[in-house]
């Protein structure tokens, strides 16, 4: 990587040919290989990758926080001229915290719940100042530091972290990480666990702090759009190696690797409805499976024999833009055309019209109040009314605490409303409408949950999971098995998966199984509660495509619950914006998103990164 740099570029952190392995009793498994990375003084870089890419391990290697069994097997890490790997344990520990600090994803577990917010910050101050500071001085400084991250309420200093919201906690964590005035801050998915609006605030705050202090920032994320909105340069990591490096605007406008290209396209846009959703098939391989070839070749539609016979090197294709793709000059044009056509806006979907104008579900003035410990009550829903027509896809958008999940659970009968009513259309028109808790409602409405890792019984084979609901209808084992085969075909998985346990499947495959299971009773309405938010970007697009396809084929109605406006844009016809238990805006999805009227909707849409 000794290509030309602007003269003012002064490297602070240099990672050279870094390799990291995991040693187990079964032998060594590669996690990272030949990583070269540079962070300039005052520069912000992004490390982007899906799960399994090794991005978090890279940050942990730099901070000397590798988990047990994971060791650096080669290469070096230099910070401001000091070789970190050559320091002894004590010196390294002092380095971390003083000059390199970290900030993690989960604001709920990152802070000690037994300590007050201010204490987290004062702890850092004590270590970096040469003389001990008094309690009062510490508190005053903590208040100043909190103000720096936008917390002006002085009382927060004395609050326990569990009394704060997610966004507030993430601010406290940032203040604590900055307390030692580091010259390098590593932020590992700092905004992923937060709501859209809070997410935008935290990212803004991060870049403000970075600029004001002139420190270097490494932002680790799975979301290219987040990286583009904050970073100067972006490293794309895949299966333990860097596939592409470039300046953020160049990478965004013209990616030089098919993987980056695919990743960019598989992130749906919130700006318009895409006629075709593009996804990368398959899943991220283990680094050792692709050690002697291009890591992306198994999933790349442009892969040639040369890609599979040798491991390509990271070469510079244009100024400061490196790629590991050897075919890039040959396929650049094709990639450009594909991008242009994929982003071309499409007409809204035509909803198939049926003769009966009966709603699949009609929700009338639903309230739901949860009692909490001390006699207080939380009003999750405060009078929500909406309808889902037959064949329609309705989006329900809201942040955490908006009541969107509660409403979904009420529709499938997992919760009951405290007030108001929910009526479902029965299977045949002659019957009376059903309540969600009725037994017959099971054949009308089903639910797909967010987390495919916990929504399948880990001890039950896939086949048995699909057959079980069918057999409750009184079908024989062999009939149920035939039906399970049809279901697994419908969600695009091979039939041999029926004999597998969920643990051997990837997240995307599990979600397909969960969808197949929900379809087993041939419902007319599917409630999808954040069905793609726990999945990797490239897999998200696969699942969204599946929903689009199944909806047409089975004439399904969908109630699609999500926080992600891009997902809403791609999948739904009408949308309802839910805020603190009330619907604040409803309408056709294009209209609501292009010209929002309610201030909250406007704020939501303004927070979309990129």
């Amino acid at each position: 990587m000794d290509h030309e740099r602007p003269t003012e570029f002064e490297p602070l952190l240099q990672v050279r040919d870094l390799s990291v392995v995991y040693n187990s009793r079964k032998g060594a498994a590669t996690i990272l290989s030949d990583i070269n990375l540079e962070v300039g003084k005052g520069e912000t870089i992004g490390i982007v990758g899906e799960s399994g890419s090794g991005k978090s391990i890279l940050s942990k290697a730099v901070a000397d926080l590798l988990p047990p069994g994971v060791v650096v097997s080669g290469g070096g890490i230099h910070h401001d001229g000091t070789s970190l790997l050559d320091l002894d344990r004590k010196a390294r520990a002092a380095y971390r915290g003083e000059r390199i600090t970290l900030m993690y994803q989960d604001p709920f577990t990152m802070l000690n719940p037994l300590m007050r917010a201010g204490t987290h910050i004062v702890e850092g101050l004590r270590r970096s100042s040469p003389t001990r500071i008094s309690k009062a001085e510490g508190k005053e400084e903590a208040i100043r530091r909190l103000a720096e991250v936008g917390i002006t309420d002085k009382d927060v200093v004395d609050r326990y972290t569990f009394e704060l919201s997610g966004g507030m906690r993430q601010r406290v964590a940032l203040a604590a990480a900055l307390a030692r005035d580091p010259d390098l801050l590593i932020a590992d998915e700092p905004s992923t666990a937060l709501d859209v609006t809070t997410q935008a605030e935290i990212l803004k705050l991060l870049s403000r702090a970075q600029q004001a202090r002139g420190m270097s920032l490494v932002l680790i994320t799975h979301d290219l759009r987040v990286a583009f909105s904050v970073c100067d340069r972006v490293y794309v990591l895949y299966a333990g190696s860097v596939l592409e490096v470039g300046k953020a605007p160049m990478l965004q406008a013209q990616p030089r690797h098919p993987y980056t290209h695919g990743l960019l396209l598989s992130e749906p846009t919130a700006k318009s409805r895409q006629a075709k959703l593009i996804s990368i098939e398959g899943t991220v391989p283990r680094p050792d499976e692709v050690s002697d070839q291009c890591g992306f070749a198994p999933r790349c539609r442009w892969a040639a024999d040369a890609c599979r016979s040798e491991r390509p090197i990271l070469a510079e294709y244009e100024h400061e833009h490196l790629s590991r793709c050897i075919r890039i000059t040959a396929i650049a044009e094709e990639m450009r055309t594909e991008r242009a056509s994929a982003l071309a806006p499409a007409e809204p979907r035509r909803v198939p019209k049926t003769n009966d104008d009966i709603a699949m579900v009609s929700i009338v003035d639903v309230h739901k109040t949860f009692a909490t410990g001390k006699g207080a009550a939380v009003k999750a829903l405060r009078g929500v009314s909406l309808e889902v027509a037959r064949g329609d896809t309705v989006g329900l958008v809201g942040e955490s605490g908006s009541g969107k999940t509660t409403l979904g659970r009420c529709v499938v009968g997992l919760d009951t409303p405290t007030q108001g009513q929910i009526l479902l259309a029965p299977k045949s028109g002659s019957e009376v409408p059903l309540k969600p808790t009725d037994g017959a409602a099971r054949r009308v409405v089903q639910i797909v949950f967010q987390d495919p890792y916990s929504s399948l019984d880990p001890r039950q084979k896939v086949g048995s999971a699909l057959m079980e609901p069918i057999m409750t209808l009184g079908l024989s084992r062999s009939d149920a098995y035939d039906r399970a085969e049809e279901l697994i075909d419908a969600v695009g998985l091979p039939r041999e998966y029926l004999k597998r346990h969920p643990a051997s499947l990837s997240g995307g495959e599990r979600q397909r199984i969960a969808i197949a299971r929900a379809l087993s009773l041939e419902p007319d309405l599917l409630v999808c509660d954040e069905p793609v938010s726990a999945l990797d970007v490239s897999v998200q697009a696969q699942i969204l495509k599946l929903f689009r396809e199944l909806r047409e084929r089975l004439n399904l109605s969908l109630l699609f619950i999500t926080h992600d406006l891009a997902v809403v844009r791609q999948v739904t016809d009408t949308v309802h914006i839910l805020h603190q238990g009330l619907i604040v805006e409803s309408g056709e999805v294009g209209k609501v998103m292009d010209s929002p009227t309610h201030p909250y909707t406007k704020r939501l849409i303004a927070s979309i990164p990129g």
Partner: protein, 288 residues
């Protein structure tokens, strides 16, 4: 739509789980296996367990008697072997009853909740307030019945802790989306408990079984040590430990051997229980 199956990532955690058990577990397994074999065929080996040889009393270990003889000149090794069945049967009954009752009551209390949960748990609280071992001592000394009575009393008092643990595990499972998915698919409550809850709390059941076994092994040996267990004269580890204390200096092995047998069996069973627990909870943790 096709999905790659060839490049299926197999998580590291999963591969570790599938590897051979560690050496200590192999040793524990072999010991427990040996004890179980001896408890079945031991009676044959121990034909000489009650033969008294008053000419060679309290002899130390020798070629004829590998662990020496006791105060009545009986072969210690033969008596340790003969005592194996008694040592194993009591704890097996106690741990098994714990397993069955705790899975029924624990899962029912945890999953169904409400009034049933309160009823079961208040009963559990009541029994936990009573000291089981003391009740066993009183019951055996007042009502008689020896070993059998001790097993019955300890069985009754052993279950409560297990029920609490299984209930906790069941409540944890109940909150997971897969149970909610089954409910919304219209799967019957009894089937959810039997076919889904039970397999998923089974690691806890296995660990409980091992702990119950070890604790009741020691408790029963303790009762025999106090002369409240099996009939005097029957070969039994706890009893031997007590009686042979008197000849500790002439043949130390006479009391040490059954003592070690108790310790080794208790430790081995616990080790195996822990290992199985880890092995069976690991696949659930597999994530990318």
């Amino acid at each position: 739509m096709t999905v790659h199956t060839k490049d299926q990532p197999v998580s590291l955690a999963r591969r570790v789980v599938r590897s051979r058990p560690p050496f200590s577990i192999m040793v524990a397994f072999s010991f427990v296996a040996a004890v179980l074999v001896i408890s079945v065929v031991g009676q044959a080996l121990a034909g000489s367990a009650n033969i008294q040889d008053l000419a060679s009393v309290a002899n130390p270990a020798s070629g004829d008697h590998w662990l020496g003889t006791d105060r009545l000149g009986r072969d210690v090794l033969a008596r340790v072997f003969a005592g194996t069945r008694t040592a194993v049967i009591g704890p097996l009954i106690i741990a098994s009853s714990g397993l069955v009752l705790s899975s029924i009551f624990g899962i029912a209390a945890g999953y169904i909740g409400g009034g049933l949960d309160s009823t079961i748990m208040r009963t559990v609280d009541f029994f936990i307030a009573l000291p089981g071992l003391l009740v066993a001592i009183v019951a055996v000394s007042v009502l008689g019945g020896g070993y059998g009575m001790a097993i019955i009393v300890l069985s009754i008092f052993n279950v409560q802790g297990d029920i609490r643990i299984v209930r906790g595990a069941a409540i944890e499972q109940k909150g997971l989306p897969y149970i909610e998915a089954l409910r919304s698919l219209g799967v019957k409550r009894l089937r959810i408990m039997w076919r889904h809850m039970l397999p998923n709390v089974s690691p806890v059941l296995v660990a409980d079984f091992a702990i119950d076994f070890a604790l009741s092994l020691v408790a029963l040996a303790g009762l025999s040590f106090l002369g409240l267990g099996s009939q005097p004269g029957t070969p039994e580890w706890g009893g031997m430990l007590a009686v042979n204390q008197a000849i500790l200096f002439s043949n130390p092995l006479a009391s040490l051997a059954p003592g070690f047998a108790i310790i080794l069996l208790a430790v081995s069973v616990n080790l195996i229980g822990d290992w199985l627990y880890d092995k069976y909870t690991a696949p659930d943790r597999v994530r990318n």
